[in-house]
Assembly symmetry: C2
Homo-oligomer: 342 residues x 2
Amino acid sequence: MKNKNIDIYTIADKAGVSKSTVSRVLNNKEDVSARTRKKVLEVINELKYRPNSSAKGLASQRTKTVGLVVSEITNPFFSMFVKGAEDKAMEENYNIMLANSNWVVEEELKCIRMFEEGRVDGILMISGGGSDLLNNYLNNLANKDTPLIVVDRKLDNEEIPKVNVNNIAAAFKGTRYLIELGHEKIAFVRGDDVAASAASVDRVRGYREALQKFNIENEIIEPGFFDREEAYQATEKILSSHKDITAIFYASDMMAVGGLKALDKAGLKVPDDVSVLGFDDIELASIIEPALSTLKQPRYQMGYLGMEKLINKLEGKPKEAYAEDVIFELELIERESTRAIK
Amino acid sequence: MKNKNIDIYTIADKAGVSKSTVSRVLNNKEDVSARTRKKVLEVINELKYRPNSSAKGLASQRTKTVGLVVSEITNPFFSMFVKGAEDKAMEENYNIMLANSNWVVEEELKCIRMFEEGRVDGILMISGGGSDLLNNYLNNLANKDTPLIVVDRKLDNEEIPKVNVNNIAAAFKGTRYLIELGHEKIAFVRGDDVAASAASVDRVRGYREALQKFNIENEIIEPGFFDREEAYQATEKILSSHKDITAIFYASDMMAVGGLKALDKAGLKVPDDVSVLGFDDIELASIIEPALSTLKQPRYQMGYLGMEKLINKLEGKPKEAYAEDVIFELELIERESTRAIK
DNA sequence: TGAAATATCGGGAGCGTTCCCGATTGTAAA
DNA sequence: TTTACAATCGGGAACGCTCCCGATATTTCA
């Protein structure tokens, strides 16, 4: 049934050279004459030979694949991140091993452990929960020999290169924007519970700092857990206890969409009666009616850059090529859901 | 720096057994006494040993990983598919190697070739283009020894198990639904060019067949290339040449969203003036205003089932467990964008 | 022309497993 | 007690590659 695999020896025989030479042309080494290289290449093509990557991995101790763990591939934030990472990996001829943690720490751990079985030269991780268990594990990993790059996640290990987003500044910028538009009653619908997401905490902080800076006393914060439905309810709650609200800042576009619905149901017009500001700039933000003003996260770039750093590290590039942390500042995108107060 | 890898021998020494025995407990073989198994397990835990999967792959000729190629991970249709596939793979302790083809055939080929390098036990593919080049290649693959399962793609190779969607019936159902609502002037905005997507062709066919069945002569078909912008323009075109249109059926929800915008701009109300029917049932369909009536594709199930079949095949399960093709029938979801004609 | 330097190649060991076969021990039946 | 058989284990070869070292062929320069 399964005919004998053609291996490097088969090629060597047919080309009249040794396996070493075949290996050399396979890896574009210098020590081969043009003539023999050509001949070997011909045989390779003729026999449709494909090097066995397990053997290669075993012999070279490198697999040319990296592990990618995300919380929820279905979420546009993450899928765009994956695309960026994938593009860069493809460029450099690296493979990607994908793992989806579904937001649960145990699965995240399971993914990483799988990756540790030498299948993967390094790991790129994004967001996810922030349990001590996991963080400890990650710290350990870094001290061993699996290179790791972490995106959008708080970790106080200096050894682990990070690419982050300046959530504090972004939330500050968004809030200030609303204030400069003349709003004074500004609610903030935050994301997840404190422990689970550092990003969420930082955004709350940015909101607070802006209020303080501009001497606005009345802070109104309601949890929305990065969920549309929850944000809907949060909005209703805000509306009922603060009739005079004129702007709501949501920590994600998805939540803003939920908010829009609640506002509509309450008979409030956006942006005439209340301004709505989102966060993320997912595709939906420009599709929805009214189009959402929002803080744009460079999702694709985060993936691309994260992967670039990881590969640089794997390829033994100088430290500057990966070790330095990067922090993205977010751009404010003005669309139709916000306007100056009359 | 990098301390010597702990391998099966290290464990064997420390546990006072041979490497074969360690291998046996690693693979849950029978021929080990409870006592030695326990001891070996202890040592493994103590040393945090992780088997090297390259070596394992080389020796066993199996990698326990499958390749997954999708056209565009960012597209909700595909990301949900990936999630389904990923879930099943995780359940069975398989790894997933992800490749994103960006809709271009050459990249699709490149992905498959990468997978051929023994990294992967089998391949799961979805949609994508339909070039002869690729189809030939796939046929070859199947005749060789890389198991392949194909989802939502036309391929006339009986050896390749397929999971498909009954696009003809679905488009027929959608069109009939519109007709039964009293519509007679029904336009269809189709997807891609004929060559590129079999699904698109089938949907056109279903639309046509329904019109014929109910003796409606005036078929109106405009290309929208599965793109929001294109669908916007297609809609404008339809509107200008067919003032009396009362319903438009889009071959994807994304296109329907583009259509909604065009309709709005033209001052037409949905569903009062014209009914809009989508296809896919992506999340957006229920978010948008008005919520889209649509044909629901079982995206998650397609991924899950495809992966299940693939793994069944890899695990040497009996033929019934994977060889039989499956065809999903689509459910019509009624929401707000369609209504009976007055 | 000869020696030294260089380009080109081959062979062997090793990467960390699995798997087969045979050895050893223990146990039950005769 | 002897024999047969099962349970348990160890050793060696193989998987297909890389990498180092040394051998040979070719060129270069004095």
